[in-house]
């Protein structure tokens, strides 16, 4: 999600899907958390301004604002007058890890639901996961 732009300036890129089961603001929250968790965003790094992200994605500033408010509430980002939004120094890895585990858990629920609906047994599913994990 990071791309190289210009000589030394990294710009974060987002992808949102208006047809997703998740709302736009949920997708934004998740992508920011993911970027922090995998090191693309570091403590102190700036996050796009509300308007510039909304404009880039053609989404409502209200959705971006909501995503940022929730991230602020969780202590993941901070906002100061004039400096904009940035990744909080007070961010605890654990607050992020929980989010990640939760995200993985939600995905797992979906996979399990599909498997069950289609008569796939737990051991088949385990085997499948094993193969995919090793291939990754």
């Amino acid at each position: 999600m990071l791309s190289f732009y210009g000589r030394w300036c990294y710009i974060m890129e987002f992808i949102v899907n208006p047809n997703s089961k998740e709302t736009i603001y949920e997708q934004i929250i998740f992508q920011i958390k993911l970027a922090i968790a995998n090191g693309e965003l570091k403590i102190g790094d700036g996050i796009p301004s509300v308007r510039s992200l909304a404009k880039s994605l053609s989404v409502s500033t209200l959705s971006v604002q909501r995503a940022y408010s929730e991230l602020q509430k969780e202590g993941i980002i901070e906002s100061t007058e004039g400096k904009g939004n940035y990744v909080s120094a007070n961010l605890s890895k654990s607050s992020l890890k929980d989010a990640l585990i939760k995200a993985v858990e939600e995905e797992a629920q979906r996979v399990i639901s599909i498997a069950k609906q289609n008569g796939i047994e737990l051991n088949e599913l385990k085997e499948l996961i094993q193969i995919l994990w090793e291939d990754f």
Binding site: N19, T23, V50, V59, S60, T61, L62, S63
Partner: protein, 289 residues
Amino acid sequence: MTNALEVRNLTKVYNTGKGIRDISFELSKGTILGIIGLNGAGKTTMLNCLTGFLKYDSGEIQYDFNGERYNKATPTLLDNLGIVSSEYGYPDHFTAKTISHIMSSTYRAWDKKRFFEILAHLDLDKSLKTGKYSSGMKTKLAIAIALSHNAKILILDEATRGLDVKASSRVRELLYAHVSNGENSIILTSHIMGEIERMSDTVMLIEDGCVQFINNKDDLLYQHKIFQITSSQLMEMDKKEINKVKREDHALYVIAKDPKAFGDKYKLEAVSSSLDRVIEIILEGDTFQ
């Protein structure tokens, strides 16, 4: 107040019975409100009440500029509003230069430099007589004027009329730049749904003089996901689950009351949607009997 504008129970009814009734909404600072509705629904009537061009019967309009509140069409109000509409009235021999000269006496904060910068950006010749303007040029001029007197709120009624793709794109950039300070706001109406969908933060639908809904654009699209189904599938469904149904010759579309639950229950994926498809189904679809 974080609202640039608050409107409460605005009513203006003509002798014909047409007009607007009980319209209420808020415009947050730094946001873009897109207003959609059929011709004759009341959009222009409402905008004319907001700008003071039309006297309304009842209700309240409250603006907030820099912490000061205004509710009358005073010169100060008009200084702070940038208006673009289809009204166009300059003598044929005027050029953009002449108009700038006049505007400097009309507006307290007329910014001549910015005006000419915008004209250049929009490829409009400042020495061309307005009598020779195409409709696109008239639009460009109006937009340039609206953006050149430090207006806190832009009111744009069909403001991209006659603009080609390149010019529309430039205008869009200017409008985004205008609201990027978090203080300036825009109200725009358009029949070009793609434009409204792309630019708006909040979307309001006016039907028969009343507000049908007003919502965050993304929430609106999320809550009105469109599913494609067959008649036999429809027969299996509970009418309480369905908001609207629209029949095409060879396809059937529904908007569910709870799209997430609906999709999960019937194992359906929503089809790729757009604001105009959603509005079409809302306005022309039937409720499921």
